[in-house]
């Protein structure tokens, strides 16, 4: 089941590329949307068959490179299932959003389908090398998306993205090899390594392995100061690419913390948790402050991603404090961090798609060049407003559920850090309100770049169809989050038990 889920998009991608060149673009569109929808259906089926609190399920284990201790081992649990679902939702939204694109459409669709395989594959991997392979392949696919379909200085941004995250992945590989060598018998299998806990009591060695893994994941997340690849990559990427990059690819880093770093290196994690807390707080405040100073809408949203990912890092760091903290608080922090991954994917995905509309209509993201868009484009304005309030953590949206859990869970163990990072939601409120006021309100103003049409047309049907479901899901999660939390909570308790060993 999982194997089909992961590799079906690539199979369709190959099919797409094998089709004769005369194939009408409508057929390609239909095939892409149908595949993405089928994937979503599959993941819903997986969710329906998933037994909450039942540990790893749908497990498949096959020999791959037995000499090196590498196996094809996949499965889902409460940490990965929400992210699988998020991935399928976002890819479907992107497929719908891109319905009217024409530029080398077949290749674009094939690349996205391949990218979907890498993302799904990463979240189901239970083997470090498998994880690493998908991690790297996702970087490769995203490189081509940005370089091939981006705008502005896309080649340079793509190269920077690729090199930076690739170096990160090398650090990750180094850490994985460190784990492999420490285990006996040598293995890359995550489940076996979790059981063995090979680095228990090996101070410096464990610290170095954690450093390597942490570095690799921190680049991908990204946390300050390893985030500078993110703004250019987002600004130059096509809208769908940005949505996937922010919505799914960033989660690979934070997911890695929960899936690999915490269960496999509990001792080292507990010892160096303070470092993560500090990095988390710095990311929260620094990301929000830099976002506040931006004039480019897309760049601003990109920096708020740094801010939002910072809450996750803060939460996983704070959850490591075992003394004088209630189990409830720590569970809230970890559950909140997984919820934040899902929530940020939905909301920021929607924001990037909406930013894409700005570029599509008037070829600019410069907020100063716009004004009063609520008059010509009321639907666009309403959705942007809703997405902004969702992103600043208003109750009733998923962001609040995530951030409230993180704050309440983390305040006990780390009062100062959490009190500081609460300021982050004030800063994001300020910057989003300013952006809304600049873009949507006041007298109408449009960029005066040559070649742009004078009118700013409202959202087209396919654009609304891509954005509205994302925001609707954010509302559903904000009002009735139990169906998601029921899946996450047992898994976060498991992580905490493994961490407390």
């Amino acid at each position: 089941m999982l194997t089909a889920l992961v590799f079906a998009p690539t199979a369709v991608a190959v099919l797409l590329l094998a089709l004769p060149g005369r194939t009408p673009v409508q057929a390609v569109r239909a095939l892409w949307v149908a595949t993405a929808a089928a994937e979503l259906g599959l993941v819903i089926a997986v969710w329906a068959g998933y037994e909450t609190g039942g540990g790893i399920q749908y497990e498949v284990r096959a020999r791959w490179i037995p000499n090196a201790g590498v196996g094809y081992h996949v499965g889902v649990d409460g940490l990965s299932l929400p992210l699988l679902a998020l991935t399928c939702v976002l890819f479907l939204a992107c497929a719908v959003y891109a319905l009217r694109d024409r530029h080398r459409f077949r290749e674009f669709a094939a690349l996205f389908l391949f990218l979907q395989t890498t993302c799904l594959g990463l979240f189901v991997s239970l083997d470090l090398i498998l994880f690493f392979v998908f991690f790297d392949l996702s970087i490769v696919a995203m490189y081509f998306v940005i370089a091939g379909w981006g705008h502005g200085d896309a080649k340079r941004a793509a190269l920077k993205f690729f090199l930076y995250t690739f170096i990160g992945s090398l650090a990750l590989l180094l850490g994985f090899i460190g784990l492999y060598l420490a285990a006996s018998p040598h293995t890359f299998d995550i489940v076996d390594l979790t059981r063995q806990n090979p680095l228990a009591g090996r101070g410096t060695y464990a610290g170095l392995v954690l450093l390597a893994i942490g570095l690799g994941l921190a680049v991908k997340t990204p946390t300050v100061p390893f985030h500078t690849w993110l703004p250019p990559a987002h600004t130059e990427a096509p809208a769908a690419g940005s949505a996937i990059l922010a919505g799914v690819l960033l989660k690979m880093g934070t997911y890695g913390f929960l899936r690999i770093a915490m269960p496999l290196l509990p001792d080292a994690w507990r010892r160096y948790a303070l470092v993560l807390v500090v990095i988390g707080v710095v990311s929260v405040l620094y990301g929000a402050l830099v976002a506040l100073a931006q004039t480019d809408f897309k760049r601003m949203v990109a920096y708020t991603s740094v801010n939002h990912m910072g809450y996750i890092v803060l939460a996983v760091g704070a959850a490591a404090a075992t003394t004088d903290t209630s189990a409830q608080a720590r569970s809230l922090a970890v559950t909140g961090s997984v919820t934040q991954m899902v929530s940020h994917g939905l909301i920021t995905g929607a924001l990037f798609l909406l930013a894409g509309v700005l570029h599509d209509r008037a070829r600019s993201y410069d907020m100063g060049a716009y004004g009063g868009l609520a008059a010509p484009a009321p639907v666009f304005a309403a959705l942007t407003g809703v997405a902004a309030f969702a992103s600043l953590g208003l109750p009733g949206f998923s962001g609040f559920i995530a951030e409230f859990q993180i704050f309440t869970g983390a305040l006990g163990p780390r009062p100062l850090a959490t009190a500081l990072s609460v300021l982050g939601i004030l800063l994001t409120a300020g910057l989003f309100l300013r952006a809304l006021r600049q873009l949507l309100m006041g007298p109408v103003r449009l960029p005066d770049t040559p070649g742009t049409p004078r009118a700013f047309t409202d959202l087209r049907a396919h654009e609304s169809a891509a954005v509205v479901p994302l925001l609707a899901l954010a509302v559903v999660l904000g009002v009735a989050p139990r169906f998601l939390l029921d899946v996450i909570e047992p898994a976060s308790r498991t992580v905490l038990e493994l961490l407390a060993r």
Partner: protein, 650 residues
Amino acid sequence: MSPVLWALVALPVTCGALLLAGGRTLDRWAPAAAVAVAIASLGLAVTAAVRHPAVEAPLLDGLPVRLGVDGLSGVLVVTVTAVTLAVLLFSTAEFAADEARARFFGLMLLFAGSMLVTVTATTLPTLLMGWEVMGATSWALIGYWWREPVRTAAAQTAFLVTRTADLGLYLAAGAALAAAPGPLSLDTLDDTGEPWLSFVTAGILLAAFGKSAQLPFSFWLSRAMQGPSPVSALLHSATMVVAGAYLLLRTGALLDASGWGADTAAWVGAATAVALGLVAVAQSDLKQLLAASTCAQIGFMVLAAGVGASTGGALQLMAHAAAKSLLFMVAGAWLTSWGTQRLTELRGVARFRRSVGVICTVGALSLAGLPPLSLWAAKDVLLAGALEDGGGLYAVGLGAAVLSAVYSVKILWYVWRPMPAGAVERRRRMPASGVEQRHPIPASAVHQRHPVPTSAVEQRRPIPAGAVPPLALLALACAALTPLAFPPVRDTLTDYLGQGPEPEPHAGEFAVSGLVALVAAALAWAWPWGGRTLVPPWTRRLCREWLRLERAAHVLIVSPALGLARAAAAFDDRVLDRAVNASGVGALVLARWTNRFVEGAVDGAVEGLATATRRLGRWARRPQTGQLHQYLAQAVAAFSVIAVVLVLVR
């Protein structure tokens, strides 16, 4: 039991959201639908207040959503739904037909729903959810006329200030959870152990002061007056701004347990009542005056919460809601029919439509604290608590009551004094009155511009007949609430609130405060407003500009934050990003250097080896001449050498 409470909160929220989603296509139906929902909500609220239902639904791990109606909540839900109904009825008559009515009524319902969640929440997370959504809807309502930048800026200020204070609730929730696991019930917060107890108290106080526009947050309410008048009538008089006072009344046990929270609340409330009372006296704009007086009157409620006078606080809350929403709606009606809210330009307006004038007078006299209207009696019930706490607080409270009388009568003085001949003509010729232009406030643009919606100015029209009945009902409430402050009804109310016995005012206190208010009102009526005053100009200016609180916030918080943001962005671009790029460039330089030097050396060595080998080969070819005699000679030479070597080695 439970369906009533769920319906009470879900009905306005759902209908509001539907109206908003429907957009302009629903404009025609929006007023009727909203009024119907408001009527239904009022019915549900009364039912809930009688039956005291409680409901629960799971939300987070160990933190469920819990709603419940007890005495205090019962008072609040009825007040909120009643005022909502009055305001919506008024808006239906008053709002121009071409406005985006679905958006307006949808937001009002959404607001009312979140306010109902706030006052029925029995756990901190639930309260926080309603609390923050209230703030967001208030942003959307203040910025309702979004084409005008001054209004959207005001909305932004209001939301950011209240959200700053809301952070207190986040911290309080975290601290309470750190101290003890649990559902974070509001009524068990006082069991929190130190040091978390102080943390929780501080967070609650911060949030309450911000939402209720107490010192030092008061200035946002001044900016909030940029919203439509019905919005001010609902949000900024009767509901949202009293949420802070409500929270403090609700968490009275926590304030007592902390040891310092109760006194802080009492004194901040008293200080706000006096300081913002002075600000109100100095205003020359009707809505600004009302806004400042709202802060001051809520100051009394906060004071009541601080001294544990729940009954007095609840009475003040209800009586003030009636009087103030009435006054805001009257101000709005005059604004649309006269195109101004400046007191000097409103001279004599009460004479034109006597019914509205009389209604306004009832509201203003209640606000002034004159017997036999309800705010007079309510104030004495809560001041009895202050008197028990100490004479100082009581004296400050009486001082604030004097100010109430003065600013209320100031309104009446202007609206009843006959208009000087030719004033109408003069007003038409001069767009703004000179006094205010001389003292512009850069930070808050409020006093500089005409805060008049263009649509309203163009459509100057008489006050619609449909707008009067809801006003009359509120005026009636101003008088009808008075008996609640006297036994035996008051004792019933105290029992209903269930907060235990409370200090009771003597008849003498009622007489003293009534007399003080009467004297102050009479003096204020006799005072030649608009003429010369004894107060030094800088004091007047300070008060008129709301104590320059907004400028202080800009200088102390906003500007440094923006500066820090710019510095961080510059650091990001110039240092971090450049370092990353430089390391990329460094790699390239290293590659070129390697290419030129290391590669040259290695390649040179290889080339040299090849050359040497070639040369060796060339030498090796030289003996191969193909001539037999030379080979023979070489052989002889070689054998000779071998022979010599053999001889030597042996």
